[in-house]
């Protein structure tokens, strides 16, 4: 016993160091995959208040550019509205359409805190469970995909962006005749470029062909823009392409985003739960 106490006395500095390191690393490793406690994220009251003040100071920095983008988006949709079109064939009866049903609904949100130069980048949004946000919903902006909701508190939520280590969004490269499915990754180097893995090199990929979401997992609708292929190279020893893409969205000055709510997601997961598991 005396030996043990002597040992503890002798190494107490190192022991305290080891305990503190263990706590910090435990926090780091568990929170990257599943955050449990909102007080250890930016979603707590004090941190969010600080970030709101900071956001009030900096939100007008890109105002002119963002307004121009929104105006262009308005023009895009306005051009597609029937009441602003010239009617070519007159005298036809308009029938209210029952062929289509709304599958996705969108919740507008504002990014109040963001980072782009770390290995794992998270954005804080000013919407939460009060607005119907849940963990696992998709987030996109006008130009392209942003990420997936990682944690939602009552009035705020945390987005795991595509600029993180293990996000794996289902995407496909769209070419003239084929769709090549793959997974979107990020290598941590440049927030303008991402990577796609799992693309077989039996087909040639044209530079600047578009990359879109595939819509298989029900998080994102089919056909949301992700980026354009900027560089391809065969991986040595594997029948795969190394594909680098340029993101359509500029995450460095992102401000307004939309959260996607899939109205059919419960139905899809209930159906997919019926697939018998092989053991």
């Amino acid at each position: 016993m005396r030996n043990l106490i002597a040992f503890l006395q002798r190494f107490r500095i190192f022991l305290v160091f080891a305990v503190l390191q263990f706590l910090a690393l435990l926090w780091y490793t568990t929170f990257l995959s599943f955050p449990r406690n909102q007080y250890l994220t930016t979603n707590n009251n004090i941190a969010i208040q600080l970030l709101e003040w900071e956001h009030d100071l900096t939100k007008h920095f890109n105002l002119s550019k963002n307004n121009t983008d929104l105006q262009w988006e308005n023009i895009y949709w306005r051009k597609r509205q029937p009441k602003f079109m010239y009617q070519l064939s007159r005298g036809k009866v308009k029938i209210s359409d029952t062929l289509y049903e709304q599958q996705y609904t969108y919740i507008p949100a504002e990014v109040i805190n963001s980072s782009i130069n770390r290995r794992n980048n998270y954005f804080t949004l000013n919407v939460g469970t009060a607005q119907g946000i849940k963990r696992g919903m998709g987030v996109f902006c006008q130009q392209g995909v942003v990420g997936i909701i990682h944690y939602a508190s009552e009035h705020y939520s945390l987005v795991k962006t595509v600029l993180t280590k293990d996000i794996n969004i289902d995407v496909s490269i769209r070419m003239k005749k084929t769709d090549l499915p793959g997974l979107l990754k990020w290598d941590g180097r440049d927030p303008r470029y991402g990577m796609i893995t799992g693309i077989n090199n039996d087909l040639r990929i044209k530079k600047w062909s578009t990359v879109e979401t595939r819509g298989g997992s029900g998080i994102f609708p089919k056909g949301l823009p992700v980026g354009k292929v900027s560089f391809t190279e065969p991986i040595e020893g594997q029948a795969l392409w190394k594909v680098e893409i340029r993101f359509a969205a500029d995450y460095r000055r992102l401000q307004r985003v939309y959260v996607i709510k899939n109205l059919h997601l419960a139905e899809q997961t209930a159906l997919e739960a019926r697939i018998p598991e092989e053991d």
Binding site: L20, Q21, W27, P35, L50, L51, E54, R189
Partner: protein, 171 residues
């Protein structure tokens, strides 16, 4: 000014400058400016290691919570606080440190500060990026980030120190 008050005020200023200003700057080339190691460096000589590690843990906690880094800053600051007394002992004068002096480049000389703070900041930054990236195949990228961020953070630390000293001399 009382030492405790002085360092409490510094704690608040350094933590929030880091979390709200320097963590929001996106310079490119993998540069990440860090001023929180300077706070640990400027703590008084006679402070024992265990309270210092506690302070480092708290500081890291505050920065991690505000910037969603989940323990990265905490881990690297605790490591730095653990290593500080070892390096101070190694590079210290034979008769021990003068308790009236502070571990700044003005009090202890630019050479001493460059060596000690350079090593501490380098280790802190390397540990930070090693944990953050955590891929052995990308060791070159880790070194690139460490060197770029380390050199710029060191220059920033010199700048901040000159501000602190100037305000003292005017009084």
């Amino acid at each position: 000014m009382n030492v405790v008050y002085k360092h409490t005020i510094r704690f608040v200023i350094f933590a929030f400058l880091q979390a709200l200003v320097f963590n929001q700057l996106n310079i490119g080339f993998g540069i990440h400016l860090m001023i929180q190691p300077l706070f640990i460096m400027l703590l008084p000589f006679e402070l024992a290691v265990i309270p210092m590690m506690g302070i480092a843990f708290l500081m890291g906690l505050v920065i991690d919570i505000v910037s969603n880094t989940y323990g990265l800053n905490t881990s690297s600051l605790v490591l730095m606080a653990y290593l500080r007394p070892i390096l101070f002992k190694f590079y210290g004068p034979r008769e021990g440190y003068d308790p009236l002096k502070e571990p700044t480049s003005q009090d202890m000389g630019a050479n001493w500060f460059t060596v000690v703070y350079g090593i501490l900041l380098g280790l802190h930054t390397f540990w930070f990026f090693l944990l953050e990236i955590f891929e052995l195949g990308r060791i070159g990228f880790i070194f690139q980030k460490t060197i770029f961020s380390g050199v710029l953070s060191f220059l920033l630390a010199l700048l901040i120190q000159s501000f602190i000293l100037n305000s003292k001399q005017k009084k």
